[in-house]
Subunit: 235 residues, 2 copies
DNA sequence: GTCTATAGTCGGATAGAC
DNA sequence: GTCTATCCGACTATAGAC
């Protein structure tokens, strides 16, 4: 699990439509089964069955069970880039110009924090979000090569943006441990609802943690930030 | 996994010292192995080996692999009761008398919130915390009977206390969804560091998420709460 | 109470036909 | 590219000796 493995052997000429279809089906099924059962407990037979393809094709297309696992993380990272990349780039380009001392600058910081939360919610509102969350969460506990794929994507840059925005608001340096902890605390509030799903559903009487529920969470996080950093919440 | 199973068959007269020793060793090893590998991937062989006992003794003492799994959750819940129960009871008994409109009452609410966070940190600072977190986290995603054991303990009562304290501070009803979300957000900030371990360690350059690191997190959560709810942070 | 031994099942990977 | 068939290792649970 921790020795590097080529993610896609690429014995396959991607021109073949059937081949692409098989790969996509396997990636989708792998997300679901790996997310549900974890790497070890997930069986290639179960994945193949869910994908509606032959079990031997996993080895053919992805080299091994692990190759498929890593390929799923590459797909996750790619989607995250597509969903959050543009918003993140726009915000990142503007942070330096913000004045953390003026009310207008502070409101801009708060709006950007809220936008980043919104980007994360866009991610969590995808139909695959449940599988993503589960797979990433497992990697958080026992990081393998897959965590590097994930963390090496836009995720770590997003945390940097959170940190810089929080630092503007507190007047601290973004290099301070304090700023970094506070940045994680902003994201942590949202992630808690994905990660402690069962608790959230019980405590709130929810039947699911979907887009509308996460929007309610976003409103609370947003209100809390405005209240904390002393600006009036805009209508 | 979802059909009720007796947790301890109790064929064993607990008078026998050796038997108790075996049970404890199995519970400790099970925590570690179930936490690391998850229920399915964990093998009774690995658990027995880690415990230094014979594999067949799992069936003898706990009926089955699942019986052992449930017994671990009972142990977790019991420890949580012992560590947090007294603090929680003291706070719960006092909440009603607090005045959310007066500065003194608000400071008391904030201190109580901080104390509950401290209780959670006491829990997370135990040597078994890593295993606990992992097992509970998995249950959050796919609740089995084990989640009921956990949620039926002091945990849900703690969330109620959080909710009531937050409601006092905001002036809302503790029954409002808003209050409940905010309560989860307070806990979520701390839990994020246990659950997104790898991210926290990377973003902060930490080598571990231990007692001292969690204390730093507690300080930030506390400061954030005071700042948000408009009281001066006491020295 | 604890042990050895094993029955019965299921896992990942691969060889080779098409 | 896809399939069938199979090797071989690992698993849970249990029977039965001590």
């Amino acid at each position: 699990m921790n020795t590097p493995v080529s993610t896609s052997p690429d014995r396959t000429p991607r021109t073949n439509a059937r081949s692409l279809q098989t790969r996509e089906a396997l990636l989708g099924a792998a997300l679901e089964v790996f997310g549900r059962d974890g790497f070890h407990a997930a069986s290639t037979r179960a994945i193949a069955e869910a994908a509606g393809v032959n079990q031997a094709l996993i080895a053919y297309h992805f080299g091994s069970k692990e190759g498929l696992y890593l390929a799923v993380f590459e797909a996750i990272t790619q989607t995250m880039n597509e969903l959050i990349g543009p918003t993140h780039a726009r915000i990142e380009a503007d942070i330096d110009s913000l004045d953390g001392a003026s009310p207008a600058g502070r409101r801009a910081c708060l709006e950007y924090l809220d936008e980043l939360i919104g980007g994360a919610i866009a991610m969590f509102s995808q139909p695959q979000a449940l599988g993503w969350t589960r797979m990433v969460m497992r990697e958080q506990q026992d990081p393998s090569d897959a965590f590097e794929i994930f963390y090496g994507g836009i995720y770590s840059e997003m945390l940097q943006s959170f940190t810089r925005l929080v630092a503007k608001l507190t007047g601290q340096s973004p290099d301070d441990e304090s700023s970094r902890i506070q940045a994680l605390n902003v994201m942590g509030q949202l992630m808690g609802f994905m990660v402690a799903r069962a608790t959230a559903m019980r405590h709130l009487g929810w039947q699911q943690v979907g887009a509308s529920e996460l929007s309610a969470v976003r409103r609370e996080i947003r209100a809390g930030l405005y209240q904390r950093f002393g600006e009036e919440v805009p209508a």
